[in-house]
Amino acid sequence: MKKNILLVEDEKALCLLYEEELSQEGYAVTAVTDAEAALAELGKTTFDLIITDIRMPGMDGIELITQIMGLRKDIPIIINSAYQSYKEDFMTWAADAYVVKSASLDELKSKVKHLLGD
């Protein structure tokens, strides 16, 4: 059975790219473009892993993580941000991994596999 990943990424092109790449790795990916939609999905489906951007319109990724942790602490979370600087925010410790976006998706895929025990 495929493991479920919730992907939160506001840039539609990147969202499509991640969705396709992770699907090719054998995961079932639900992609949304904002935090509010992510919270709505969490109410409907059980996910094995969450990948979220930080800088997004409306609720940002850090606030999303705190909301998720208030609901469920057992879902691994990967921060996938273009910015290193959010590492200074102790709230990012709530995530299980912090990946800085790059042209290669190797690090992101590697963290996904590690956190899902694949």
Binding site: T66, Q67, I68, M69, G70, E88, F90, M91, A94
Partner: protein, 341 residues
Amino acid sequence: MSELRKDLVSGRWVIIATERSKRPDDFRPGGGTARAAEPGGFCPFCEGNETKTPPEVFALRTAGTAPDTPGWKVRVVPNKFPALNRGTPPPKPAGGIFQSMEGIGVHEVVIENPDHALELSDLPVPHIRDVFRVFQLRIKAIEQELHYQYVQLFKNKGKEAGASLSHPHSQIVATPIVPKRIKEKIYGADRLFRNFKECGFCRILREEAAAGVRQVFLNRHFSVIAPYASRFPFEMAVYPLRHSPFFTDVDEGELLALAETMKQVLTRLKETIGDPPYNMVLHKAPNHLLSLESWPEIERNFHWHLEIFPILTKVAGFEWGTGFYINPVPPETATQFLRQP
């Protein structure tokens, strides 16, 4: 009329702008306390969330409880994303006008208590003593590694002071070199010793006790003064009465007196200005296991102390450009307010 004042130790000039003088209420933060809960109510520093931090390097905890589980009183963890990483310092590169070295060091977070809502000043005195004891133990342990010339302890409270999380915590950063600001203080202390034929800080404490207008608090082991050339409104410095350059020398009796002192001054700050954001920094001698050759007179000339800076004004272009600070509250006025129990 404004006054220019020179800080004896650093040689820095400060403008005491009395015409801009304000009352404590003028500085009260608009939204009440700065201790709002984190959005969503989750905090990686709270008891029960130990798995969200790197494994603890030290903790004061209830007997029988395992590391990285609930049951702790003060907990120290490495920074998950440290400014500097542990390692062996490489030799300093020689030649060229631009010098650099690898950024090795230690970066730890001291979580002061398990309760998100209890600030340092809210804790009972014995708990505050334990927090400072943990500071001592960690500084001692890091200095034993013999790689780090200086260990800096600091606390950022409130967003404006640089804290990203409101759960009370402090940080320890060890560096392989002695920072410039500390060197400036050591040179200033050397100069004062030559001038006064005694420790300049001991002399300042004696003068302040005699003057009586900037001494905020005094107990059997500590004196808190609003420095003569305060850079910031309600700035305070906490000095031990016993001369020592090393914070790690503080004994049990002094540690308890330090906790009583911190409880008093932080509570007064909170009551006077309304729980302002602040920074607290420890200034002490460099690692004595490494520094005695470089600083042969450090034991005689330097005197450890804590500095507390409420963040009530902005450091802007003029300050950055000139090194002058414009302080709208004379330290004598600040002292009057801070003395009120």
